[in-house]
Amino acid sequence: MSEHIVSPKIYLAIFTTLMAGTGITVWAAFQNFGKFNIVIALAIATIKATLVVLYFMHARYSPKRTQLVIVCSVFWLAIMLSLTLADYNTRRHEGRLASATTCYRA
């Protein structure tokens, strides 16, 4: 069998990077970057997720067919998010979204 064995050194390096990423996320959340706070938070989270997929989940060493499945998941997620948000952000709302008060009258 020619499976690729990822060495513990790489795992440790990825782990350290993920920890650093968590630290930066928390630090950045306490700074005021205005609109960019959310962009920074999501960018760091995406970098962390990519590292987990590539190394912890061995995607980098997987056959092309498995990689295609992974890319598909991101692609379909992007379709779901972008089309729905495009609808919400371009449709005229009466004031705001359906008022939550109507759903939750205590």
Binding site: M1, S7, Y11, A41, M57, S73, W76, L77
Partner: protein
């Protein structure tokens, strides 16, 4: 046959057999991505519409507990990855040790989650009849730090000044908080069950360099659950910490 790592008739090589098992897990994870994706989408739409109340709700969460749990979960991913490595290089004892470590860290995560949920019940932040974002600052406990309560009171009043319906919109935040972290915790519980099964098998010495597919694919699942938390942590705990 599969359980002992022998070749099934419909595969040509052991490698193909193993790759197929991993591919099957990945296909399942694709459905999971979309499953959680729906909740993230609901979160995004509602946060966009009620950002003030979402910020106030987010600030009631304990960032120390959340941060601690993030560290614990990433560590458990490392131990899971190491369990896979141990099986691949044939260190049978290490497989058991790393699997037990992963289970232990997962349990710590769930324990901290219980503490966090209990706090939300105490502070009347469970969506429903008794929900009140003002409750905590108006009913401080003897053990609460008066300074912290004063800050919270000021913040909550500011929030109500901007959004009169904070209690309604806050319930949306907490509904999503409990749905998302609850579904994530459910996945952790399933993962813990799978780990118990793996630990039993590893005690029996079943995982070898030739056959370690179960460790590998439960690992895939465990890392996926970690990825969900990597997104949940900033989105739920860190919305509005900078004011």
């Amino acid at each position: 046959m599969h359980r002992t790592g022998q070749l099934y008739g419909h595969f040509e090589t052991l490698e193909q057999q193993k790759e197929s098992a991993a591919l099957g897990m990945w296909v399942f994870l694709v459905t999971e991505v979309l499953f959680f994706g729906g909740l993230f989408l609901a979160y995004t739409v509602n946060r966009g519409a009620f950002s003030t109340a979402f910020g106030a709700g987010s600030n009631t969460l304990d960032i120390k507990l959340g941060g601690f749990n993030t560290v614990v979960l990433i560590m458990s991913s490392l131990t899971m990855a190491m369990a896979v490595w141990s099986a691949q290089v044939g260190k049978k004892k290490l497989v058991s040790i790393f699997l037990i470590a992963t289970l232990g860290l997962g349990t710590v995560f769930l324990g901290v989650k219980v503490i966090e949920y209990k706090q939300k019940f105490d502070h009347h932040l469970i969506p429903g009849q008794g929900f009140d974002m003002r409750y905590r600052s108006e009913h401080p406990r003897v053990t609460d730090d008066p300074k912290e309560i004063a800050i919270e009171k000021e913040e909550v009043e500011k929030t109500f000044a901007v959004d009169q319906d904070t209690n309604a919109h806050g319930q949306l935040y907490f509904s999503l908080y409990f749905a998302m972290t609850g579904l994530h915790a459910l996945h952790m519980i399933v993962g813990a069950g799978l780990l118990v099964w793996l630990i039993k098998a590893s005690f029996a010495g079943r995982f070898t360099p030739q056959y370690n597919t179960p460790v590998e694919i439960v690992g895939l699942y465990w890392h996926f659950v970690d990825i969900v938390w990597i997104y949940l942590f900033p989105l739920l705990y860190l919305i509005d910490r900078h004011r």
